[in-house]
């Protein structure tokens, strides 16, 4: 179909070579190439969870106001030479608010609707997250090692990983894979009268492999398979459960293996002058949680420097096999959790982002609304967890290229 290289005129051959060397073109199927110049990115986000509705809260629920988090992010990209670049990242979270503590039935005999009891006093915490990534761009391979460290009052995580990407000679296909580890340590804040663990830890090992393929001059697709294994203390030390009238600690199995298959498609429409983004992920784990995530978006960049992106994300998950909103009788295996995150539900996210590039600066604003409900689930759900989450996030940011 295409012209043979041997048949190209010298001018066209030169143009082809030039096109191949442009970072965006020669590496369209790769994660990227060495940046042309250093870039500093700053971002501030206000994350605000809706309060628990009064009808879903027990009379003794405490403060129904959930988390409000201020998030500051800084990222600095520095190209060292034609083959190496470094990316340093920092995230600061300042959070306050209450969190769902446990769920109890309306009546002491275990009948009636589930009602949520909140953590009581407002929780204040800060999180600092540091990350450093290097990218080496070889002739055919890109190798990207990374390390990270996250710390907050009661939690520390050290992580590291490496990703490798191979680009085929025709630059239409790339194969990538990677491994990562994380070592997390939790030391919960103790509360008088409540039984909580001390100094627990968990480890994580993840591996993934994937393929990126240029389909035609308008379409590129990427598909990735991943496995992630967690081992150690996987319960939530701040959550409890109602079991036949007694309040017991949240208690989950000591290991969990997760499997994912994710596919992303980008298709440019000349008619709309925009790119259609389609992402789908299937997830399954050995706690019997299965989920489907479908993300549809449209991204437009104008010649005058304005960019607009809008997207809608649909998510639906099944419950963990040991999950119940509350337990009328004790379980033989001693595994309990009433965490809304392990309950069956569905959710929608609506997003809008706008940016404008002026000289070396790009200024950005974005908003996101997340709503969840049992009726959004793919499967029919009998009893909704009363602590399901709704939130709004508003983001302001700026990039500066040196």
């Amino acid at each position: 179909m295409g012209l043979k290289r041997s048949g190209l005129s010298p001018a066209l051959a030169a143009l082809t070579t030039a096109a191949m060397t442009l970072p965006g073109i020669s590496t369209i199927v790769k994660a990227g190439a060495v940046a042309n110049e250093p870039k500093l990115s700053l971002q501030y986000t206000r994350y605000d969870e809706d309060s628990i509705p009064s009808g879903d809260a027990a009379p003794e629920a405490g403060d129904r106001d959930r988390y409000e988090i201020d998030v500051a992010q800084i990222e600095f990209l520095y190209p060292i030479n034609g083959q190496w670049q470094l990316t340093g990242g920092f995230v600061y979270d300042d959070m306050s608010g209450s969190s769902p503590w446990f769920v109890r039935p309306t009546n002491a005999d275990g009948t009636g609707d589930p009602l949520v009891v909140m953590s009581g006093a407002t929780i204040d915490d800060t999180r600092y997250d540091f990350s450093l990534k290097a990218d080496y761009f070889g002739e055919k391979f890109t190798i990207s090692p990374s390390i990270g460290y996250s710390t907050e009052k009661d939690y520390k995580a050290v992580s590291g990983g490496v990703e490798v990407e191979y680009e085929s000679p025709n630059k239409a296909t790339s194969v990538r894979g990677g491994v990562a580890v994380s070592f997390d340590e939790i030391d919960p804040t103790q509360l008088a009268g409540v039984t909580r663990v001390n100094n627990e830890d968990k480890d994580n090992f993840s591996i993934f492999g994937g393929l990126t393929q240029v389909i035609n001059k308008y379409t590129v697709i990427q598909t990735t398979l991943g496995v992630s294994h967690f081992d150690g203390f996987l319960s939530d030390p701040y959550k409890q459960v109602w079991v036949a009238g007694s309040i017991l600690p949240d208690s989950r199995p000591g290991d969990r293996t997760q499997y994912t298959w994710a596919t992303r498609l980008r298709r440019y429409s000349e008619l709309l002058g925009s790119a259609l983004h389609v992402d789908y992920r299937f997830y399954y784990d050995d706690w019997d949680v299965r989920s489907h995530t479908l993300d549809l978006g449209l991204h437009k960049v104008t010649e005058s420097g304005w960019a607009l992106d809008t997207s809608i994300r649909y998510y639906s998950q099944t419950q963990a096999d040991f999950y119940e909103p509350f337990y009328r009788q004790a379980r033989a295996d001693g595994e309990y959790s009433s965490d809304y995150r392990l309950s069956p539900y569905g959710s929608f996210v609506f997003r809008l982002g706008l940016s404008e590039s002026i000289g070396e600066w790009t200024v950005k604003v974005a908003a996101e609304r997340y709503i969840s409900d049992k009726s959004y689930s793919v499967q029919s759900v009998d009893v909704e967890n009363p602590a399901l989450l709704d939130y709004t996030a508003v983001t302001f940011g700026a990039d500066y290229s040196f």
Binding site: A157, A180, R264, Y268
Partner: protein, 72 residues
Amino acid sequence: MKKIGMVVLLIAGNYLLGACSSVNPWERGILAKPEMAWTPDSLRWQLQEHIYFSKEGSSGGYGAGGGGCGCN
């Protein structure tokens, strides 16, 4: 039956790869447009993924890496 499946897969794979090789470098300008990037904004995407990781029962899919947090 298994052999037929393998043959179909090979033909489909060959067709897909053959079709792709026909996209010449000078025809890839559209693929290089910023709106064709996997994520419209890297920092925003990182935060979104962190929120979903913290607040939903499933996570991961597009790579590996990163530690957990005490988010509840």
